[in-house]
Amino acid sequence: MAYVANTDADRRAMLESIGVGSVAELFADIPEKHRFPDLELPPPLSEIDVTREIEALAERNARVSGLSFLGAGAWNHFIPRAVPSLASRAEFATAYTPYQPEASQGTLQAMFEYQSMVCELTGMEVVNASHYDGATSVAEAALMAVNNSRGKRKKVLISGGLHPQYRAVMQTYLQAMKVQLMALDGSANGGESAGAGSAAGASGAAARASIEVFHTAGGAPEQPLGEAELKQLAAAADEETACVIVQNPDFFGRIRNLAGLADELHAKGVLLVVHTDPIYLGLFRPPGADGADIVVGEGQPLGIDLSFGGPYLGIFACTQKLVRRMPGRLVGQTTDAEGNRGFVLTLNTREQHIRREKATSNICTNQGLMALRAAIYLALMGPTGLRQVASLCYHKSHYAAAEIEKLPGFSVPDDNRFFKEFVVNTPRPASDIIDALAPRGISPGLDLGRYFEARRNQLLVAVTEMNTRDDIDALVSALDSVAR
């Protein structure tokens, strides 16, 4: 085999040194009847053959280029060529976790840069060296908030419009911790069970934590709207509440002014957790400026490929006050024996390899290489570039919404402000429209019926800097052509 480098002569010399006659003898501790099983796998393939086979698989995926308007937590953003070129350098890609700092300054310094830039972006004091993705970040943020109360506060309030997959991950993560998850909107449990588009739907899963719906004096609105909902969340938070979780922009692209929310919550000892989109932060006020205690986010837009859902990047930030409760690795600055600046992993006593069962989380391997991509991306974009990307998303999505709004049969609910993604009411089931446009190579957005029973006639449309005006116009006329 190509990746085993010992020759027969090597092998003989090695066996002699060990003092055995054959390699098979080295496996004597394995129960004999189970040793060396026959594995039913196809014969080995050469690199030529394997490439041919996998290229054929990749080509079986439909190619949708500028005419994709799918977002919903993973977006088609511009990735400067320098990002993959630098991040795929073997010195970064084939290094391990930087446990020997003197041999890992490249990784450590890059992570320090990532932490520094994401602190500026989110307006927070501390950022860790990455989590798995936006969904696990928000689940661990809830755990962190509960643990911060030393388990005294076991209630977590979720705002409407939290991504259904984030909700599902929270339900999995929190089920054993006896945490009470509560949401304001009636669609709380109407979401998916696991995979969007999965055949099994939302049934089953008895073990998962359920999400209770709570009511305030005014009753729960059908669709929680903007700042009014924030007031209801603040009112509902009590001495048993560990945190309130708000996604902004939310799953539907809606944006809200969070000013004042943190103060109301802090007065009750409740933490504010905000999940955000890092591109949004290129133009709009960061959660840190509004007093958030923990900020999490999906870092995929920062130079990371769509790649059918992963690997992505979990952004995880908090205040200095909470740093010892934070999960995951942190890189800190120090000096070497000669006084030169250098970087090391620090505050390890929070982590599993030191603290074991008392650790803040079990996380070990993270998404380091994706954090590196984000650092390179932010360095290339700079303040002007990032603002431009955010502006392009904002204006193009608003142009698209205005044009679609003009179509007979289609409408855009005007109950809220949005960033790069918006809901469209469709005259036919959204799934029919998607099917009708697929042969033309157009992906008009997400069928919201996949997650919400009551939203079968709604599309979630995302527009980024990658969609030109021509693309948008093509989408608009295509929608018009399949209106009935």
Partner: protein
């Protein structure tokens, strides 16, 4: 060596410098909400050549598999084939949106389906979920499945999970997250589970045992079937930590010795790059009995060749992360398994064990070994040198760096004093292993003649020994901006 360490990005920043150029806005502008707008983000301002040179320069401060021997125990730092990366970077994969319809995603789905089948074949299990993002998440998945299994049977009084004292720290941390209580099981003089103590703790309050086999001492649990039977007799299940699965490729299917559920570390066993800390992937495999509890979505098909579709197991514990797992890592592992086939995988397993035993046969003449048994893919030596009492494991580790060799895992497992955990991996050849032994011999000589030299190592790295205590005390976690 003393490579150039460039100043931080913020220190290089000059107002007005730019890298990325974006297109002009080609649509009419809309009103931007004034109450939400911020000033420009305070990011560094650099040109593309600045950024490229910076990251290239700092990359060169790293040791990596492609540049150095990296015998980091339990981490399986073996060669990561380039073709894996090329396959994961195919435009049909990297540009594909995770919520694209199934009918338009058949290539990705088929790949996932076939990888599920491959992993089931290699491990002897019935079903596989590719969801978990890393080993620790795989562990959490497995223990939550065990929990759901007991609860589904109304068996709700089990609260303990047994964990051998040689286990990785992720095991007890996982158990806490799953709402159980970890109970440590001692090891015996041969590095196996102490069967007497184990059996005494084995009762109907036990939900599971988490076992790493081969364990972190690199030793195969000799009475594994006795251990798994004892658990099953008291109604408990066995979780297999697959961190050391490379030793078992083609040599043992964990399901055959009574493991009920396990995770794979694709970034160890199946050669996906470690990325300086991640991303990894931690698929979970299990028996028919536990399959209904696996996290979804899982790829299914009703007939050979598809169509393939996503499906959620009936009593699923739920979703672990966004979408379908770390897909890019799945492509790499699939490529690796396809290239090796059954014979190639066995060759990997055999060579992992051959390399480790050979290196052990050479090193046991130099350093003390607590366990004299034959090892599997790794072994643990003590970093104590006769005639150089004041030398510690850390001194040896740091001095190795000067000779261009990455240090083994140090001070772990906790049950060996001054541990040096050495895993040469299957992709190294005898020549490299011999060079490592020669370096160790030199270091031992240095330790006896000039111990100060070791205390102050390294010398040839970009920086001298770093002050970790100061880092905690000062806690500088971001640059001055």
């Amino acid at each position: 060596m003393n490579k150039l360490i460039p100043p931080l990005l913020y220190e290089q920043s000059e107002p007005g410098r730019r890298a990325a150029i974006l297109p002009e806005c080609d649509v009419p502008a809309s009103a931007v909400p004034e109450d939400l707008v911020r000033e420009e983000v305070n990011l560094p301002e650099l040109s593309e050549p600045d950024v490229v040179r910076y990251f290239t320069q700092i990359s060169q401060l790293n040791f990596s598999i492609d540049t150095n021997f990296y015998p980091l125990g339990s981490c399986t730092m073996k060669y990561n084939p380039k073709v894996n990366d090329a396959m994961a970077s195919l435009p049909g994969f990297v540009g594909h949106h995770p919520l694209q319809q199934e009918a338009l995603s058949q290539g990705s789905l088929e790949l996932m389906y076939r990888l599920q089948e491959q992993l089931a074949t290699v491990s002897g299990f019935h079903s596989v979920s590719l969801q978990p993002a890393a080993g620790a998440q795989g562990e959490f998945t497995g223990i939550m499945m065990i929990r759901a299994y007991h609860e589904a049977r109304g068996d709700t009084d089990r609260r303990k999970v047994l964990i051998p004292d040689s286990a990785h720290g992720t095991n007890p941390a996982t158990v806490t997250m799953a709402g159980y209580e970890p109970v440590e099981v001692p090891s015996d003089a041969n590095g196996n589970i102490d069967l007497k103590a184990f059996k005494e703790g084995c009762d109907d309050t036990v939900a599971a045992l988490m076992i790493t086999n081969p364990n972190t001492l690199g030793l195969f649990e000799e009475r594994i079937e006795e251990v798994t039977s004892a658990l099953h007799e008291c109604g408990a299940l066995v979780y297999g930590d697959g961190a050391n699965m490379n030793a078992l490729l083609g040599t043992l299917r964990p399901a055959d010795v009574g493991i009920d559920v396990m995770h794979f570390n694709l970034h160890k066993t199946f050669s996906t790059p470690h990325g300086g800390g991640g991303p990894g992937a931690g698929p979970v495999a299990t028996t028919e009995q536990l399959a209904p509890f696996l996290p979804g979505p899982i790829v299914a098909c009703d007939q050979e060749g598809g169509p393939y579709y996503f499906s959620d197991p009936r009593q699923s514990i739920g979703r672990l992360k966004l979408h379908h797992g770390n897909f890019g890592m799945l492509v790499r592992a699939f490529t690796y398994i396809l290239m090796h086939g059954a014979s190639g995988l066995r060759e990997l397993g055999e060579n992992a064990v051959l390399n480790a035993n050979y290196l052990k046969s050479r090193i046991e003449k130099l350093l003390p070994l607590k366990y004299k048994r034959r090892c599997m893919h790794e072994f643990v030596a003590g970093g104590r040198i006769e005639g150089a009492d004041e030398i510690r494991t850390m001194d040896i580790a740091k001095r190795l760096l000067d000779y261009g060799m990455h240090a083994p895992t140090v001070y772990f497992p906790l049950i060996v004093k001054e541990a040096l955990m050495i895993e040469p991996t299957e992709s190294e050849n005898k020549r490299t292993l011999d060079a490592f032994v020669e370096v160790l011999e030199t270091i031992i000589k240095e330790a006896r003649e000039n111990p100060e030299l070791l205390h102050e190592a390294p010398y040839a790295m970009p920086l001298r020994r770093l002050d970790e205590v100061k880092a905690v005390k000062e806690l500088i976690l971001r640059a001055e901006t």
